[in-house]
Symmetry: C2
Subunit: 213 residues, 2 copies
């Protein structure tokens, strides 16, 4: 973990944690509801029932809050994904589980890829490195390793793991815009629990079939 | 075409067309360079060397300009895609060409999917309908028909065309964020001409292999 990331993770004591958490949850809710990252600090503080000066106090500003939100949304799932690697399952089974896991993150936080990219775009070079090292690289490495294992086991054809990663993230990230397509093209109400299940199943199947070749 | 779309398309005379085109090109360039849709009307007018009152005159405002930019960026490619449907080629060949075609649009205008979704989010109900009817629906229908043809010809397994569409657009839309992943995860300089070719080839192969099942 970079110095920046550990500073952000450990700067808060337990009592402070709860105001910090409230602000992150408020930011997450507003980004979901308004379907945009452009949410003001005062709106976030207002939703959390806290003074907006606290955002500055806990996170240093908007980009710091965004970084902390990425960390909140991804850390547990990334740990679980990395844990998958050590399990005694076939590469195909592990890859299938990992795609399901990452899709659950996107159904819950549809803004997550856009949030990472906007924070890299607007952040300092140190912030960019922290996002790449702590989130993008481990996620990519998980897929690269699963594909290596599957190729070695003769289960997958040798695809470019970089491109496979983009295909997985691409399918996940479409969840953000899919609601409009469902509503205005298919005349359906966005994602229901059932259509989330179908989407995950079909995306996973198409990605896995593409690997089987 | 909706009333709104034809109004927007035909409201300008040939002499006016060139100032209108300059504004659209300026908006497109700034969205590419700054990697965000959040470009002010005065910056757009400034880049075009024109008075920002002209944006209001030609497009009615920011959302109208965004709609006109979507139309400029997509109309020719959509026509070509629809033309593919009538060609005497195998469904697999047509689908492969169509994926290459849509990826070229995204390499040129990486903001295009985000622009459509933001314009739907911020626009009137009429604007949402116009975007869905004139761009999203024809694109989806092209893929749905190509998949139907391929399934009938026994070339593809019966996948859900809605999900296939999301996989294609997802892989295209990742071009927008891929530059950071290339730079900060893989230590490479974004997309070169060569890596665009490889990306298109591999994405197409993975999508087509997923259909072959």
């Amino acid at each position: 973990m970079s110095q920046l990331a550990s500073d952000l993770a450990f700067m808060s004591t337990p009592r402070e944690q709860s105001a910090r958490d409230l602000l992150l949850e408020a930011a997450s809710q507003l980004m979901c509801e308004r379907e945009t990252l452009a949410v003001s600090l005062s709106d976030i503080a207002g939703r959390a029932g806290l003074n907006s000066a606290l955002v500055k106090y806990y996170f240093g500003g908007k980009t710091g809050l965004q970084y902390a939100l990425i960390e909140r949304d991804l850390s547990d799932s990334l740990r679980q994904l990395r844990g998958l690697l050590t399990m005694d399952l076939s590469p195909a089974k592990k890859l299938r589980l990992s795609i399901g896991g990452i899709m659950r993150v996107y159904f819950r936080y549809p803004y997550i890829n856009q949030l990472m990219m906007a924070t890299m775009r607007d952040g300092t070079e140190e912030m960019r490195r922290a996002i790449a090292d702590n989130f993008l690289q481990p996620l990519y490495e998980t897929y690269a390793q699963l594909i290596r294992e599957g190729v070695e086991a003769g289960e997958f054809q040798a695809v470019d793991p970089k491109v496979f990663y983009f295909n997985v993230v691409g399918a996940c990230d479409q969840i953000y815009s899919a609601r409009y397509v469902y509503k205005y093209v298919h005349g359906e109400d966005g994602f229901t629990e059932e259509s989330q299940r179908v989407y995950t199943q079909q995306v996973t199947r198409q990605l896995m079939d593409g690997l089987a070749g």
